[in-house]
């Protein structure tokens, strides 16, 4: 597609519910990143994929967070047993080439995010 598409745009979950957030990167983009942006804060890195391989998951805040990209295109971020502190905007970004060379060509393309509210 022309841009990075994320769905749903808004999600309200009851505490304890499992959620799945979807990211459709730009076709052919090798690198895919997930970020968490709490209200009034800058985005924080969660995890990074190069094709289907999850090369860095150091930013995932707990074992309730799980991400996958089984065919190297669409990615899903799953949060189990959601807590109120999980409320945030979850941003996905993709890059045509693998980091770091991709940054010489303009960096990431971000999606518009999913705003998750846990009540």
């Amino acid at each position: 597609g022309a841009g990075v598409s994320q769905s749903p745009r808004y999600k309200v979950a009851k505490r304890g519910q499992d959620v799945a957030l979807r990211c459709d990167p730009i076709s052919g983009h090798v690198s895919l990143f997930w970020y968490q942006q709490a209200l009034g804060q800058g985005p924080e890195f969660l995890t990074y994929f190069q094709n289907e391989a999850q090369l860095d998951k150091s930013g995932l805040p707990s074992d309730r967070f799980f991400a996958e990209r089984p065919e190297g295109s669409v990615s899903t971020l799953k949060i189990q047993r959601t807590q109120q502190e999980d409320s945030a905007v979850y941003l996905c970004a993709s890059s045509r080439t693998s980091a770091p060379s991709g940054f010489r060509q303009g960096g990431y393309t971000f999606g518009s995010g999913t705003r998750l509210t846990v009540v």
Binding site: S31, F33, Y35, G40, Q41, G42, P43, E44, F45, L46, Y48, L55, D56, S58, G59, V89, L91, A93, A99, P100, F103, R104, G106, G107, Y108, F110, G111, S112, G113, R115
Partner: protein, 117 residues
């Protein structure tokens, strides 16, 4: 670990005037990338300008330019001839050049830019 600090939570400027947004960072690395991103209410992060640390020349993109002071670890963004469409949150970001396991961007907390008509 690298940190990025934006000390101005909010800035206001008259339309057509010039404004400078501040950013400082802390790192022990010599090679890295710095970015300014714009985030309008649509939430999509839009790349404004980027700078490679090994380049001494300051990056410019039309009305946007940076003042990169490597020794001082400072990376400010200057917006000339401010336009109403420039109103947004602006985030400074750092990225290591070394790759490997440290592939994510480190962002500051952002500066909310208001354009007064």
């Amino acid at each position: 670990a690298q940190t990025v600090t934006q000390s101005q939570p909010e800035m206001s400027v008259q339309e057509a005037e010039t404004v400078t947004l501040s950013c400082t960072y802390d790192t022990s690395e010599s090679d890295y990338y710095l970015f300014w991103y714009k985030q309008p209410p649509s939430r999509q992060m839009i790349l404004v300008i980027r700078q490679e640390a090994y380049k001494q020349q300051n990056a410019t993109e039309n009305r946007f330019s940076v003042n990169f002071q490597k020794a001082a670890k400072s990376f400010s963004l200057k917006i000339s001839d401010s336009q109403l469409g420039d109103a947004a949150m602006y985030f400074c970001a750092y990225r290591t050049q070394s790759g490997g396991g440290a592939d994510g961007l480190t962002f500051g907390k952002g500066t909310h830019l208001i354009i007064q008509p």
